[in-house]
Structures are given as structure tokens and as C-alpha cells.
């Protein structure tokens, strides 16, 4: 069991000035799990997700990823983030780069660093790196049916296309876990489906996923575990059936009564 831990969170606290957002969170995310985080707005669910790859530096506690406490400021966070894909509400594709450049940039950056470390940095190795990354990027693009958009700029894509490209950008780094921060909240309703479809396929391939979302249908169908957060703590944690059909706490009951499933 211990070998399967991808992320272990211990006593996580986060404050923004006087605003105490996360008040001591303990959680374990094991390999292959699909964890959906629910909660009312302001409950700290996005902050929690952003603490998992230290996009927000935790104020206290630890986040252990592959046995390393990445909340420790001495750790080179960039190395670990390469293995934690993140998808944002507003896509955050690089506006000055084409779709294919968006996807290839980080793998090439990391690959070049590796070549330099191995003292094997030359024209031939650079070319080979670029070709292999390009092949991988195109293959991923093909899977989401956007290979003909490879040379388009993000401004020429629809919201749903942007988000699918953003997912591919994260996947091209071959992450061990994918973090989704409200990936469909900024989309027009008719585009939500195509993004959820990509996420479902990803889940079926066994990717470890942590998803903050308001898509209850997705939570029910895909999640292996649902975490309900309220006021900076984990209020309830269980299988989708336990959470949706058998809510225990009053707060979860009132939350579920307000959302449309």
C-alpha cells in the first residue's frame, strides 16, 4: 500500500495574509486513483489543488510527492512539477506560441537540460530530441483530433479545443499525476462534453487524477473517490456512492441539495 502513494499531504495549512484558507488537511492519493474534490465556493478546494504542486506555497505542513517533501523550499520544485501535469480553468496556453510549440516547449526544455547533463549536447542529439518530441506531440494531438490545428495559435481555437490542447501539453511531459482545476468552468456548455470525454479516456488509461469540478455527473461516473471540502477542511471523504447517496454531514447534505445532479 505504501508503495502506491503518489501524493501524501500532512497537516497542510495555507493563509493569504489574515485569510486562513486551508486549516490542516491530511490526505493520501494513491496510484491510479481518480479523486474529485467538491465543495462550495471559498471552501479552499482550488487552493488545496494548487498546493499539491506548490503553485501556492503552503504556509505549513508537507506535501510528499514520490517520497520527497516538495513543500520544502530547498527542494527544486521545477523537477517535480514536470511529473505533475496541471490543467487550469482558463487554459493558460502560451499566447505567443502555436499549438504544437505549446506542447513541445517543455519536453524540449527538459530534454535539452538532460542532454547537457549527460554532456551529449550537439546538433544531432538536439535534432533527434526534437523529432521524438514532435512525433509524441503529434500522436497526442491526433488522439484528440486536433492534428490539423498544430500550427494554429491559441487565439484561433475554441475554448474546448484550447482546453484539450492544454491537457495534451501536460500529458506530453508524461506526468505521474494530473491536477485539474475546474477545467470546464470557463467553457460554453456545448464544449464541456468534448473536454470531459478526453478526461474520461485519460481516466480509463489508468492516469492518477485529482479534479476540482462542479460536474457532478463526471464525479459520479469517473471518480474512484470523492472529497467534500468546506471552510478549509475535508468534511467528508468516500466513494461516489457514499458521498452522493449517503451523505453524513449536514453541510454536505445542504451542499448536495443546492446543486443539480
Amino acid at each position: 500500500m505504501t508503495d502506491n502513494k503518489v501524493i501524501e499531504v500532512k497537516g497542510l495549512h495555507k493563509s493569504f495574509g489574515d485569510n486562513h484558507v486551508l486549516k490542516g488537511i491530511d490526505a493520501v492519493i494513491t496510484k491510479g486513483e481518480k479523486v474529485v474534490i467538491l465543495g462550495p465556493s471559498g471552501s479552499g478546494k482550488s487552493t488545496f489543488l494548487r498546493c499539491l504542486n506548490c503553485m501556492e506555497d503552503p504556509t505549513g505542513g508537507s506535501v510528499i510527492f514520490n517520497g520527497v517533501d516538495i513543500a520544502d523550499p530547498k527542494v527544486d520544485i521545477n523537477v517535480h512539477r514536470q511529473k505533475m501535469g496541471m490543467v487550469f480553468q482558463h487554459f493558460n496556453l502560451f499566447a505567443n506560441k502555436t499549438v504544437i510549440e505549446n506542447i513541445m516547449m517543455a519536453p524540449i526544455y527538459v530534454g535539452k537540460k538532460k542532454l547537457k547533463k549527460e554532456k551529449n549536447y550537439n546538433k544531432a542529439s538536439k535534432k533527434a530530441l526534437k523529432e521524438s518530441v514532435y512525433a509524441k506531440a503529434m500522436e497526442l494531438l491526433k488522439k484528440i483530433g486536433l492534428e490539423e490545428k498544430a500550427d494554429a495559435y491559441p487565439s484561433q481555437l475554441s475554448g474546448g479545443q484550447k482546453q484539450r490542447v492544454a491537457i495534451v501539453r501536460a500529458l506530453c511531459m508524461e506526468p505521474e499525476v494530473m491536477l485539474f482545476d475546474e477545467p470546464t468552468s470557463a467553457l460554453d456548455p456545448e464544449m464541456v462534453g468534448e473536454v470531459l470525454e478526453v478526461m474520461k479516456n485519460l481516466a480509463a488509461q489508468g492516469m492518477t487524477m485529482v479534479v476540482v469540478t462542479h460536474e457532478m455527473g463526471f464525479a459520479r461516473e469517473v471518480a474512484s473517490r470523492v472529497v467534500f471540502m468546506d471552510e478549509g477542511v475535508i468534511e467528508e471523504d468516500g466513494t461516489p456512492e457514499e458521498i452522493f447517496d449517503n451523505p453524513k454531514s449536514e453541510r454536505l447534505k445542504s451542499f448536495l441539495s443546492k446543486v443539480i445532479i
Binding site: 521545477n78 496541471m86 502560451f94 499566447a95 517543455a106 526544455y109 495559435y153 487565439s155 501539453r169
Partner: protein, 234 residues
């Protein structure tokens, strides 16, 4: 205006037959190199200062760096370029026991001076880029500096290109003060031509025309650059 053609002939004679054009060419060369090198040095210094000033300020060292940058900007924006040039050439360099050609000194001073202005332009540019761009880059494992260099600053430069063009044009025109430290520039070249006959009307008119032509060319160049950088936001 009766003797206009006579005046023009004298001017032409000095310019062409007596070698005045050599000064003009050297002057134009100096003007352009000082402005271009000044702009490039200014962009480097300005980008470094701007990046230092947009860093999140929880660490003491960042706040100290911020104060140093503010002091630098205040110093160079608070004194005229001529004064900086004179202080550098006649005070600082002799005190340090150094001697540089006046054109080199002018390049350094123009770079330091425009760095102060460009830092504020660049800071506005960086702040105009959606913070999500930095987050997106950090999330795939780019370091802060790599994310800034590859993603944020190119977009910032695109946004501030018209203002940078302004700065470049201002630099070109401001080179007319480098003759204070004895460097040949357009002003000094035409001043010398005029001094030969005590007749300044045509030389100064010609100088104005050259400045206008140069700046029109620069304006066209900036337009072309802007268009090629805008291809990402159709």
C-alpha cells in the same frame, strides 16, 4: 530670399567639395550606433530591473533589490542626459583613472539612462501579460527565469513595442547632446559646416531634414516588426 541660391551653393561647396560630408557621415553613424547600442543596453538593463521589481515580495532580499532598482530609476530619470554625460565624462571616469573615447562613453550613458525609462515600460508590459501565462509555464516545470524569458517577456515586448519605438526615437534625437563631450554627431557636423561661413540657415535645415528622414524610416521599421509580432492574436 534673394541670396538663397548663393547660400545653398556655399553650403553645397563645403559639404561636397571641402569634405563636409565626411563629418556628416561620421555624425550619422555615431548618432545611430549610440542610439541603437543605448537602446539594446537599455532593454537588457530595463528588463532586469523590471523583472526584479515584479518578483513576489515576501523575501527581504527581494525588497532590498526593489529599493536599489527604485533608487537607480530615480537617479537616472531625475537628471538630464547632458548632466549624466558630463558627470560621467568629466567626473566619474577621471576619478576612476579611466579614459574612453567619447562615443563609447555616450553609448554607456545612453544605455544606463534608457535602462531606467525602459524598466518602467517593461514593468507595465510584464504586468499586462495574464498571470496565467506564468502559471502555465511554471506548471510544466519551467523555472521562474525560463518562464519569464520564453513566455512572459516576449508577450510583454509585443505589448510595449509602440512605446519602445517612442523611446528609440527619443534616443536618436537626444544624441544631439553628445557633442558636449566632443563626439561627432549630426549636430556637430552641420555646426562645423555652418561655422565655416557663419551661415547656419541651410546647414541646420539640412540637419532637420536628415533627422526627420531617419525617424520616418525607424517608424516604418517599428510598424513592420509590430505586424510580425502580432501574428499570435488574429
Amino acid at each position: 530670399m534673394g541670396n538663397f541660391s548663393f547660400r545653398f551653393e556655399t553650403f553645397w561647396d563645403i559639404l561636397v567639395n571641402k569634405g563636409g560630408y565626411r563629418d556628416v557621415i561620421t555624425g550619422l553613424q555615431n548618432t545611430m550606433t549610440i542610439a541603437v547600442v543605448g537602446l539594446l543596453v537599455g532593454i537588457v538593463i530595463g528588463t532586469l530591473i523590471a523583472t526584479a521589481r515584479v518578483l513576489p515580495k515576501y523575501k527581504r532580499i527581494v525588497r532590498m533589490l526593489d529599493s536599489v532598482c527604485k533608487f537607480y530609476v530615480g537617479l537616472f530619470r531625475g537628471t538630464p542626459m547632458v548632466v549624466q554625460l558630463l558627470v560621467f565624462y568629466y567626473v566619474l571616469l577621471p576619478l576612476m583613472g579611466l579614459r574612453f573615447p567619447s562615443v563609447v562613453v555616450a553609448m554607456i550613458v545612453f544605455g544606463l539612462n534608457s535602462g531606467a525609462y525602459i524598466s518602467e515600460i517593461m514593468r507595465a508590459g510584464i504586468l499586462s501579460v495574464d498571470p496565467g501565462q506564468l502559471e502555465g509555464a511554471r506548471s510544466v516545470g519551467f523555472s521562474y527565469s525560463a518562464a519569464m524569458i520564453k513566455v512572459v517577456i516576449p508577450q510583454a515586448i509585443k505589448n510595449i513595442l509602440p512605446t519602445l519605438g517612442n523611446e528609440f526615437i527619443a534616443l536618436v534625437k537626444e544624441t544631439s547632446v553628445v557633442s558636449f563631450v566632443g563626439a561627432m554627431d549630426l549636430y556637430l557636423a552641420f555646426q562645423r559646416i555652418g561655422a565655416g561661413t557663419y551661415e547656419f540657415m541651410i546647414p541646420y535645415l539640412a540637419m532637420a531634414v536628415i533627422y526627420i528622414v531617419v525617424i520616418c524610416l525607424i517608424t516604418i521599421g517599428i510598424k513592420i516588426m509590430e505586424r510580425s509580432l502580432r501574428k499570435g492574436d488574429r
